[in-house]
Symmetry: D3
Subunit: 66 residues, 6 copies
């Protein structure tokens, strides 16, 4: 019955990587807490780099500096 | 003053259905808890089926099997 | 498969009222969008009035004025 | 280490305004709570006016009336 | 830089299990997406069974029936 | 109409500091985006250090090392 929300910046994760992430997180909840996978929901949000800030700066601005 | 967030998969809900959902949820908060509708916020997130997992699988993959 | 999160201030809602809210919101998702209730999750967060702000003020402070 | 999520309707906020918002909120957490900005994350969600309800109505419908 | 929120019902998960969950989810984000663990935040919410609904019923009510 | 959620670890923030945070964030939304403060909601979640992970470790464990 757990609900998991994963937020990452939108920087090219593939559908296959996201599917593996969903599968892996669900499995962890089964292995560690004995949760029922059938009602375990995992939602991934990909966030535009203009909308994600760290250290007071947008990721768009941080990527430009590198 | 309540805040409600509804997450559904992006599978064709119409603007009219979403408007009815917002209206219905707000009314429930008025009827059951006596909340003030004027400051009741309802936010709907429609999530891509690649980004929604249940049972360790993406909804994209589940829909393909049916 | 929807996931709903309802945030209200902690001001005396009873377990019975919360149960009715969960039941009502789930039913709306069935009626309006045809969702499967069995995998519909509703989570209620009751938030301390010191932790809820509206109009730039905490609800604790607003309640005191009334 | 704080995490901040800001939800606004999608009604024309510029990248520069969002960057100022991220910078301002991060600075508040430093100034008021002494938090470390380096691990402070701010995520902005811009929500379609069809998906945002207040007073039981979508913002799309409210804007039309004005 | 990812942010992960895990919501589970409050039914006896130990501090050690939660620590393993945080460690496991962080490692998945490193392994699958190459994310930097140093700025990866995982927040666990334990939710009262009165506040969690599935199938239109609270978990408190579901547990009683078993 | 914005909704802001601020998550911090539970490590002694006072009611007065939280009130200043609510006031400051609301003012930023007015100043930068011209939002209406009357319907701006700010919710603060204080999270137990056992439930907050960064770098794959709980904050409880990180604080012990210092």
């Amino acid at each position: 019955m757990p609900y998991v929300n994963i937020k990452i910046t939108k920087e090219g994760a593939t559908a296959e990587q996201k599917a593996r992430l969903i599968q892996g997180v669900t499995q962890l909840l089964v292995d560690i807490l004995g949760k029922n996978p059938k009602t375990t929901i995992v939602v991934i949000d990909e966030v535009d780099t203009d909308h994600w800030g760290i250290g007071g700066e947008t990721v768009t601005s941080l990527r430009r500096k590198r």
